[in-house]
Amino acid sequence: MLGSGIINGLIVTAKNFVGSYHDPKRMVTVEYPEQRTVLPENYRNFPFLISENATDPMGTLRCVACQICEKECPPQCIIIEKSKDKKPDASGKPQLYPAVFGIDTSVCMSCQICVEVCPFDAIKMDQVFEIAATDRFHDLFLTREKLAKPNSYYHQIHPTEAAEVDGRLNTERKAAEEKAKAAAAAKAAAAAAKSVPVAGVADPGPASPRPATPIQPASAPAAPATSPVPKPQDEPRSSPAGEGGPANPAS
């Protein structure tokens, strides 16, 4: 009969209307500034640089200014200038550090390729998205001071991934230290045996372990290795229960 389809439609919308008052499945609004959805652990927005501790972020950046991310960044929004000197890193080796590290968030496309290609786990994706600005030249260009965030923060936003990275780094560092020790011991032994001092090997540390660190993740596919696992409590986001629930128009 003419009109039955229209009446069916009216019934469906009426159901949704009534449902919006009692059924959380039909009232999905999250009242943003006051309520927030839980961001999934994997969520990424803009990169940040990891520093080992919060007290001296500039001194403990993991980044060694290898400029791989600068080269691989598809929109070329990273600028790195190597330092002239070296600073000791977490395991005590002298490393270069970025004298200038800048990311133009007004260009960045949040593609995460810099994270994937970084052999040092020095750059990770941040989750802050409330960064609307009124001056794009100053507010949206992130210098290394703005980019540096401590490792504890990384643990806060990507716990699973961070734990994995820390575990890997620790084993690597341990291996490096042992290797360095072994090398030092071997050299000492060799020196003792030959008793001929070799010039320029006064600092045996950096030479051997350094190449080992970058090559390992680059040759293995970085993606599955760093694949983070979403926390179980992220999952309810796909079901309406986690979406803020019923919302009060008066609030």
Partner: protein, 413 residues
């Protein structure tokens, strides 16, 4: 019809007016009397318009599973400290919109017909307000008791469509022009079913006066069934036709062709900004309210209470409640339906509504002729009347929707 007329609530606004009028010297009293009526209508329906807009936005939002405006609150300059943290459920939203619209720059396109461009919103609001003059809002609340109230109503209502044409024409925008053409086609097509749907009421009551029409619906069958015309076969058919035609006349979805957003950008409003746009917006809602009010008056018993024991509620509140119900229905329809095409719109009018309305006039004539039938004949009367309504609906509907049907689909082998 026994208790309410003299209750305090029922009389209070009138008493107030009379008290105010008698303060003035004699020669001015007549003027003051009418001025107060006009101001009261403007104030009440101005506020009603404001809350209709927010109701529409909130109801539509609820239909769409969201909340709608809810955090407007009030400006902070007020001396009341309590609402600094309150948002008033967003009910102050229309006032924010009004403030904004009032202060917005008014742009008139260089090539537009400046005079008509200015005149159109004025006319549209003026005429849509004029229709309120003949609506009986309550037992004693009829601004002007005209003998030919219905004719006056339709005459004034039709002028608004002319203003829409003026707006579309004077803007000199192609979308506006197309919208103007559509508005004219729509006006001509739907004025007829609208009026024809009202004729049965006139036929049965024998009057064009809205007051008399409401009064003639004012008793209860068996003491509790309201004798509203919508509860008769011809009245029901008339009411449905009236509803459809009213939707079309007030340019509401699914007949919002002149303003068709997805096709003509904003139709006749495309070149209007600021307060002129707000006036059109206002007029649209005034027109809707007026037509709903007429529908309430003609078919839903006007200000009459549905049951005798509810008569203690003042008549004007009954009118308002019915009015709100009608408007909520219109909002519901808007949230559900899609838009017709212009040829389908006219086809619906001429091939479906007009024949149905004409038959319905015959039906009403039959109803009048058989007023004296009683007992089992009463059943025959109802049966025949129902058949006159349903059969044409069925056949005309079939011919209207011929060729359109859901399909079944095959799959690749």
């Amino acid at each position: 019809m026994t208790t309410a007329p003299d209750s305090f609530l029922e009389r209070a606004p009138l008493e107030l007016r009379d008290w105010a009028v008698q303060l003035l010297p004699g020669p001015l009293q007549w003027l003051a009397h009418h001025l107060i009526t006009v101001v009261a209508i403007l104030a009440v329906f101005g506020l009603f318009f404001a809350f209709t807009t927010i109701a529409e936005r909130k109801l539509l939002a609820r239909l769409q599973n969201r909340l709608g405006p809810n955090r407007t609150g009030l400006p902070k300059f007020s001396i009341l400290p309590w609402h600094l943290k309150h948002t008033l459920f967003g009910l102050s939203q229309p006032f924010a919109d009004a403030v904004k619209a009032l202060t917005k720059e008014d742009i008139v396109p260089a090539a537009a017909d400046h005079f008509l461009h200015f005149l159109a919103p004025v006319i549209v609001v003026a005429f849509s307000l004029m229709t309120f003059a003949v609506l009986p809002f309550g037992r004693e609340y009829l601004p002007v008791d005209l003998d030919a109230a219905l004719l006056y109503f339709f005459a004034a209502g039709a002028a608004t469509e002319l203003a829409i044409f003026m707006a579309g024409w004077s803007s000199r925008n192609k979308y506006s022009l197309l919208a103007a053409m559509r508005a004219l086609a729509q006006l001509i097509s739907y004025e007829l079913p609208l009026i024809l749907s009202v004729v049965p009421v006139v036929l049965v009551t024998g009057t064009l006066s809205t007051k008399a029409i409401v009064l003639s619906q004012g008793y209860w069958i068996f003491g509790f069934l309201p004798h509203w015309f919508v509860f008769t076969p011809w009245g029901f058919a008339g009411f449905i036709i009236f509803l459809i035609a009213a939707l079309a006349e007030s340019n509401r979805s699914p007949f919002d062709l002149p303003e068709a957003e997805s096709e003509l950008v904003a139709g006749h409003l495309t070149e209007y900004s600021g307060f002129k746009y707000a006036l059109f917006f206002m007029a649209e809602y005034f027109g809707l309210t007026a037509l709903s009010g007429l529908g309430v008056t003609l078919f839903l018993g006007g200000w009459q209470a549905p049951f005798p024991f509810l008569e203690f509620i003042p008549s004007y509140l009954w009118f308002m409640m019915k009015l709100i119900g009608m408007i909520m229905f219109f909002i519901w329809v808007r949230g559900t339906l899609l838009r017709l095409r212009i040829d389908q719109l006219t086809r619906l009018a001429w091939q479906f509504l007009v024949p149905l309305a004409l038959l319905n006039v015959g039906n009403a004539a039959f109803w009048v002729l058989t007023t004296h039938w009683a007992g089992p004949l009463q059943l025959v009367r109802w049966g025949v009347s129902l058949v006159i309504v349903i059969l044409p609906f069925f056949f005309l509907g079939r011919s209207l929707s011929a060729g359109y049907a859901p399909r079944t689909y095959r799959y690749a082998p």
